[in-house]
Symmetry: C2
Subunit: 400 residues, 2 copies
DNA sequence: GAACTTAGTTAGACACCTTGCCAAATGTCT
DNA sequence: AGACATTTGGCAAGGTGTCTAACTAAGTTC
């Protein structure tokens, strides 16, 4: 609990209770007054009052009668989906993905577009603005209706200079003020920029393997390497927003041919690192890391060796992560986590047994695939938007 | 904020407000009604009501009039110190330290005793029981008055088996049920067992360099190596309570003579590791790591080389920690942190500039010395005991 | 269609906090 | 020394919010 807290008057009780009712409706979907009374512990008259307020604030709406049971039919309420709109944007290396959802979370429109690559920030913003208008039209709403936009991007946002650091795939965004250009995408609508891997971790926690897990880490291995950390069910960003930036970690031995004596995790364990190692060991005609994994599944001995080496690298990196964080679960995501999860989970877990002091946490491969970042952006957006909408509607205007 | 929360009736308002008043008195010390009204935002009559309740619950007491200002003299209130007692116990490798404090945090009695070493759990518990009775007598209270005892021990508590793992200095405590023996120290009083380094981190946050810092890590380097992690101002324990167990981390190169190719952090960077390396490089007549550091301060070239190597090891370990956690501050504690902080901070920070992606966090040496664990135990104990006492007194018995 | 069951509303009571006013007590100015 | 300003503490009245209990409304079951 904690001694301290804030003192309050009866007026905040009403807000607290209405927030609780709103939260229960979000959780339960279509729901009747008696069910809400049961779920919140409040009395029937209080529930009726709260619903009247929420309905007046246009946050909820009656949806019809539920008949069939004995007794009088119950009037069901639900969240008014149009009470808010969330735009989630995944600005990836090759693709840009957008999804527009209502406050309930139903996706009204979405789009996956291939990037040309090398767009300037202005070009990218203009393009995103165009796509946003298309999505908004498709959903039959207006750009001004967007409650919140959440962008998932590589790199780390420097809030002081409004720029993105460590994001080589987004040239131009390292310039001061670049992030603020995003304000133009959806005029005046609030927006949030988060690291893509962090959002993938949130997505995993909301819709994937992290559901109900208090402390877990999502390790993203693809073109680059990163990690998202969830602690106490909440994304942990670190002091500078750089928590989980493990790509520069020194790995024990590394391939002596690539780096002298010590390898940087990203250079040895990323997709390119896998292809490089396989090529060096004699494999030919590789177009991507996936070829190596397919060959390993078919029994190719060189490919198997590459996989074993990759598992060893990952395990050594995870050993450090586990020693520091002691998570309950580690999810492998990104291209390699998804494509080669089946091959890697076993050897990684085995290797970790020798490297970890106590029990090895569960190691699993993500099931969200390429959707992880977008889902995470949506999860963050929905949570924040619901708060925003509630605050605006109920806390600000408390009519009798 | 977060949509959801708990619904409540007016009765919880009173408890909330009384908790807020109680918290303000703890924060402000001797304080008048108008000051409390100002601090909490509550009205005068409400403050008076709350104080009457708190006084009836024997949690606070009037302490006299404050005169001197213009106007009527104000009646000052303060926490009743005897409303609760906290026993903090640091079970170290060489010493056992105990402190008994009242609810305000004033230490009424304390004791530092040298361990014989190798005591069985039963012997240790009997001894601690004896010392506890002495402390309690000295303070003029009874064992039954102890609200909470907090033990700081090495190793990790396995809650399922009530035993301590990874604590070689406490033989016998790895047996199931061993931790429960501590119940006998202060009959029936609640007790908590925490990792000693974790408590040192809490101490650093409450009384040391971590004050006001949201995210920081305390790296403890002494006989053993460990780390305490504070996130959002709260101790982070991890899923199994093993967060920060970095002693087994592989360090990049290590001394090839000690370990083949790769060193375990604890074996190369601990006090023994320092002495071993110095001896191997030709220093003679060393009794402890302190000798090496003194020699380095005097300009001994071998000692300086040992210090440089130590700094390198620490920096490489910290690089991993920083990559994962991105703390605002890293505090070096334990024997080496305290004794050699002045020598190590500079080289460690320099070395980290090459290893860390973004800005290097502040690296500082702890100022709490050997008191860190005990202070941390006291901080945890006071926080928890205040909660316990309040809950028992106010929430349970709400008289008009 | 009568009995039963569940849903929703209304009225009265209780709890909590606040504002406003008044009395008490102290320092300061004349 | 006495009047005045200032601050503290207490009391009464009013407002807001929730609860219980009783009552009305609207379904199902037999």
């Amino acid at each position: 609990m904690g001694i301290g807290g804030t003192a309050s008057t009866t007026a905040v009780l009403r807000v607290m209770n209405e927030r609780a009712v709103f939260g229960e409706i979000l959780k339960l979907g279509k729901v009747s007054r008696p069910e809400l009374a049961q779920a919140t512990g409040l009395s029937k008259p209080t529930i009726s009052m709260a619903l009247a307020d929420l309905e007046r604030a246009r946050l909820v709406r009656p949806i019809g009668l539920r008949t069939g049971n004995a007794g009088r039919a119950a009037l069901l309420y639900e969240i008014r989906p149009q009470a808010g709109w969330v735009l989630a944007v995944d600005v990836g290396r090759e693709f840009v993905r957008l999804a527009l959802a209502d406050l309930v979370g139903d996706i009204a429109a979405r789009r996956d577009e291939q990037r040309k690559g090398g767009e300037t920030p202005d070009e990218l913003v203009a393009w995103l603005g165009e796509l946003t208008r298309e999505l908004v039209d498709e959903a039959g709403v207006d750009v001004a209706d967007i409650t919140l936009t959440v962008y998932g991007t590589p790199g780390i946002q420097d809030k002081e200079t409004s720029s993105l650091q460590l994001a080589p795939n987004l040239p131009g965004w390292e310039r001061p003020g670049a992030v603020e250009l995003l304000a133009a995408v959806a005029a005046d609508a609030p927006y949030v920029v988060e690291n893509d891997v962090d959002l993938a971790a949130v997505g995993e926690g909301a819709y994937g393997l992290g559901q109900g897990v208090d402390h877990f880490a999502l390790v993203w291995i693809g073109t680059g390497i990163g990690m998202g950390v969830v602690i106490d069910g909440k994304l942990y960003r670190g002091a500078q927003g750089a928590a989980g930036e493990i790509s520069y970690l020194p790995v024990g031995e590394g391939d002596p041919l690539v780096n002298r004596g010590r390898g940087m995790l990203e250079s040895v364990a990323s997709a390119d690192g896998v292809v490089a190692l396989a090529t060096r060991l004699g494999m030919r005609g590789l177009t991507s890391a996936k070829d190596v994994f397919d060959a390993a599944r078919a029994g190719d001995s060189i490919a198997c060796e590459v996989v074993a080496t990759e598992a060893d690298h990952i395990a050594h990196a995870l050993a450090g992560v586990i020693a520091v964080l002691d998570p309950q679960l580690v999810v492998l995501g990104g291209g390699i986590g998804v494509q080669a999860g089946d091959l890697l989970i076993g050897p990684v877990t085995d290797c970790l047994r020798d490297l970890v002091a106590l029990r090895v946490p569960m190691i699993k491969a993500s099931t969200l695939g390429t959707e992880a970042v977008l889902l995470g952006a949506m999860a963050v957006g929905l949570t924040t938007a619901r708060d925003l909408v509630f605050e605006r509607a109920v806390a600000q205007i408390p009519p009798g």
